[in-house]
Symmetry: C2
């Protein structure tokens, strides 16, 4: 039993069926909430028109998963789904239903949280979700870290108060709008008090994929999907290049469900710029004190969710600790209810020590899970090297030794990340 | 001599010292031009403030390259620089001076061409540049393909007329605004007549790096440089996913000076979406008929300019013919006046047959250069496998054979692009 994995999903979702949020919403917002509910049918039509969910698929999905999907809001059902799926603990983002958005938070402030949401309604809706989420997390709190919704483009005192309140209620991370819209971009010093508070409370600041420049896409789904990783990642370089991570060395920033396949090129490109290599000589100083890949290792992580084999091949450039896995429960693009099989498929030849970091321990450090407390759960759930088909660890270590040695080739004096085949 | 390379720079720049454009501008725009000239000093201040050029570097650059930089507008000097630098032929974009923009086209319509440039002034300025560029290209026309500036967001009849006029005057490609701004995005059917005309005239449509969402960056240069590749690439997926390349199979679209390091991940991501793999099941049909990587191979190219070794390692995923090299003459981030050394440094272990495509023949096919006519120039200029230190072609072919066989691993049934080291 000593080699059991503590599997932590760094990307899970929970949300009440939308009408039930009423009980968590201040009474004076009920009329606005009624209006919001009345517009939901049309919102679902929009989802199908845009193509981000297909009607035929939706019917099948709900029919085949009706019980499990109740884990989107019901703690007992949720625990059962976690156990079955191999998940010891989880980080909880909003919007359990990614198919027809039936559990969206009031006024659309879940994954749709935006810099231009009406600040008053936005805060009211976010508070409603945050209150409910704290309740959900109070069941088996050792297994759950809830992510508070905070529209940081609103009035600063309100923002800071809600972050503190959410922390006191037991939530342990903050999701900010991926897109600031007409508000000040995230390089602005206006946000320093937000970063400082989140640093002090050890609450990672996250964006989550979903938002994008949708108004420009018409009904061309491929454009949306092409850009859906870029927009939530964008705050990262607005913060990094304006010195946020130099000023707040303890701040953690994460982009969630954004894949991590784009990270190696970015780090290579950034380090080259910072080091003033060919192409950068004519530029002024970049204005930051620390090498970008160092800042990335210290301050940034990418919730890679259903990690792909191609990304596994890039892990020594990305950083083993920078790409926590997630099952995206209960979204169809995630691995639930087959995460045990997906973990085996993805990590079968990865050394055990690295797997341990990537599917659990890195997330535990980022979000503050206590591994000792989780141990009995992990033992019951029993995901192990052998259940991942990691049958010969010495062979796996040897297989990747060259890659590991090369690492970020631009810093280790190697020509390419990988040597030629054969 | 049989193995001499025909080196074509798919990214070079030319522009008159700005005041001299007056002679090519219709007289009625002279007052507006005077006003534009009066604002140039402030524009240069902005460049230094943003940090895209450093004052100390600028002084050194002009002092050390005063003669060669005259090749930015003087045909004889230009030919001499090309010969010395190893360049047989070139594709000519605007803005010779990338340090203080001293040769920018009237009203900033060079690399700064934008969807929201005033349409009348924009067209007038573009015509002035296009007229002058046609003159430049009439000297040694076999060695030069000029790129016409066309603000396609303006009135359609004007746009089509200018493309036709530019073609008649001898120009052979069209640069469009990378950013449409408030105009209709490039998925709009409004632009079909533009794509059709360019297809029929065999004029590749290009964007060029430079434009970006600068207003959002304040003075944070690192943000600009991070995004400077994304914005000019963006039209590609607006066109691809809205079916432009399905409708116009003969249209060529190129993103210039954008690196090509980001291409493999994009093709992998797109093909997976198109093929409906895990993560895409809930989405509606993508609406295009042809697999994205096939469209890319047929319709798209990336002017990779000073190709990096990391990109060389990715060439079987990108496509040998999709990443034409360029010296970016006379920009400091390019390889001039040391392109011969840079070519050796970059391509020394690349098989000769592939090198021939990447540094010349692919660009010849895209832009319509006649290799037979260029032959005497190539022989005089004498860039050869041995001058690139390609001393043992059989060894180089063997070195890369495994990579070549794997190619786009997601289509060839392989796990990763490259096998592990050692």
């Amino acid at each position: 039993m000593s080699d059991v994995y503590t599997v932590i999903s760094s990307d899970a979702h929970a949300g009440l069926p939308t009408p039930q949020y009423r009980d968590y919403l201040e009474k004076r917002y009920w009329p606005a909430f009624d209006e919001f509910l009345a517009g939901r049918d049309q919102a679902v039509e929009e989802i199908h028109k845009m193509g981000t969910s297909d009607k035929a698929f939706a019917e099948k999905w709900y029919a085949e998963n009706s019980e499990g999907l109740e884990g989107g809001w019901d703690a007992q059902r949720r625990n059962k789904e976690m156990d079955n799926d191999g998940i010891t603990a989880e980080v909880i983002f909003p919007d359990a239903d990614a198919v027809e958005s039936r559990t969206c938070a009031p006024f659309g402030v879940g994954l749709g949280l935006s810099g231009d949401t009406d600040p008053e309604l936005g805060l009211a809706g976010a508070k409603a979700h945050n209150r409910w989420l704290a309740e959900l997390c109070s069941d088996s709190p050792e297994r759950r870290k809830g992510v508070a919704l905070v529209q940081i483009t609103a009035e600063l005192p309100d923002v800071l108060a809600e972050i503190s309140r959410a922390h006191e209620s037991g939530l342990r991370a903050v999701m900010i709008p991926a897109m600031w819209m007409q508000a000040e971009p995230y390089h602005s010093r206006r946000y320093d008090p937000v970063w400082e508070l989140c640093q002090d409370l050890q609450m990672p600041v996250c964006t989550h994929s979903g938002p994008a420049d949708k108004e420009s896409y018409d009904d061309h789904l491929g454009i949306y999907v092409t850009e859906v990783v870029w927009w939530p990642a964008r705050p990262m370089w607005f913060m990094l290049w304006s010195g946020v991570f130099d000023r707040f060395p303890g701040l953690k920033f994460g982009v969630t469900e954004a894949g991590c396949w784009w990270v190696p090129n970015l780090l290579w490109f950034w380090d080259r710029l910072f080091l003033g290599q060919k192409g950068a000589e004519k530029l002024s100083s970049m204005g930051i004190q620390t090498q970008p890949s160092e800042l990335f290792d210290r301050n940034i992580f990418i919730g890679s969710s259903n990690t792909k084999r191609r990304e596994i091949g890039m892990r020594y450039e990305i950083g083993i600790d920078n790409m926590p896995w997630g099952n995206d429960f209960p979204h169809p693009e995630g691995t639930w209810p087959h995460s045990r099989e997906w973990l085996a498929k993805t990590y079968h030849d990865v050394p055990i020590a690295e797997t341990r970091r990537m599917i659990g321990e890195a997330a535990a450090e980022i979000y503050g899970f206590d591994l000792a407390t989780l141990r009995p759960h992990a033992e019951r759930i029993n995901v192990t090297p052998s259940s991942l088909n990691q049958t010969d660890d010495a062979a796996n270590v040897a297989k990747w030794a060259g890659h590991k040695q090369v690492g970020r080739h631009w810093l280790t004096g190697h020509d390419f990340p990988l040597a030629p085949v054969g």
